[in-house]
């Protein structure tokens, strides 16, 4: 099972690219022209991310270098150790449903501090990649069509986030721990 999952990790992207190439040649598409056209979008996305990342990573770095973040982790570690939840990723878990850019900044900072291949860095990567920003999605979609009463949407969304976060910790602990 575990071996199968790591094979998928390595094979998925190259195979998907091959699939795109075959589909494009069967339809006789100008694949390279399309690639360049779509790629321009990528430059825009990365550049528009820049100010968000500078703002967030700087604030998180202040918190980290002052020692406040480590103090917070030290206080919570013994409490969370009971359920096997590493306190180092708790700040990320708390911020993930609230702000996408803050979570991205936090993930980056955790990866920079603990290393991308460390246990903590792997959990942070999976957490960041596996769910979306609940509060943002709710605000954008319900705001756009003028919904005033959201009923159980927020509770259900946050509960689903909690399960995804616990699943990330559990599965990474099983596979890489």
């Amino acid at each position: 099972m575990m071996g199968f999952i790591s094979v998928i990790s390595i094979w998925m992207i190259p195979c998907f690219i091959l699939f795109i190439m075959i589909a494009a040649s069967m339809k006789r598409l100008p694949a390279y022209d399309l690639f360049v056209e779509g790629g321009k979008e990528g430059v825009k996305t990365a550049v528009s991310l820049l100010p968000f990342l500078v703002g967030m990573i700087t604030a998180i770095s202040i918190l980290r270098s002052s020692g406040a973040l480590d103090a917070f982790v030290d206080i919570l570690s013994p409490l969370l150790a009971f359920i096997g939840f590493p306190a180092e990723v708790l700040p990320l878990a708390l911020i993930r449903p609230i702000s996408g850019t803050a979570a991205l900044g936090m993930t980056t900072e955790i990866i920079a501090t603990y290393g991308p291949d460390s246990f903590i860095g792997t959990i942070a990567s999976v957490m960041q990649g596996s769910t979306d920003t609940t509060l943002y999605v709710l605000t954008i979609y319900f705001g756009a069509i003028g919904i005033k009463k959201i009923r159980y949407a927020l509770q259900a969304g946050l509960l689903a986030d909690l399960i995804a976060i616990l699943a990330a910790v559990f599965l990474v602990t099983m596979m890489f721990g």
Binding site: I8, L34, G67, T108, A153
Partner: protein
Amino acid sequence: MINWIWICMAAIGIIYAMFSGNMEAVNEAIFESAAQAVTLAIGLISILVFWLGMMRIAEEAGILRGLAKIFRPLISKIFPEIPKDHPALGYILSNLTANMFGLGNAATPLGIKAMEEMKKLNKHSETASRSMITFLILNTTGLTLIPTTVIGIRMQYESASPTEIVGVTLLVTCIGTIAGLIIDRFFYYKSTWRKS
């Protein structure tokens, strides 16, 4: 809210440093991390250009549309209140497939279109309908096939295997999505019990 979180992180850090004697480290961190963030954003260009370029070909080749067709029966089961050939289903499917491939910018307008159609079905009420909440849950659990940004960050910090997390992430996304749908059903039935 995010403005407050941001202020708190910076303010708590600086105040804590006054007492812990780490002010020098904080001072250094401010300028170093800003530079680090710029390097990261520039570094992310590589993977974003590559991925969005590939996805443009996939879109033209009809791969996203084909996938939407495969998922149609499943999606219409998840949304029992939407008639089978209503345009809302089409928008929901295009939004979900765009999200699966990490095309957030393309997914959002499609999602808003889907919401508008569902509002029409709900007689333009200002209260969220059952289908709207189900759709929202599917979006917040973020069913993604390949987490490109995370792979980009891992590359920047010299991971031995940046894509190592793809399999687990996929598994966790699926668990989150299935759990989200179950939770959604649970809350829905709970709300109908209260009425009767």
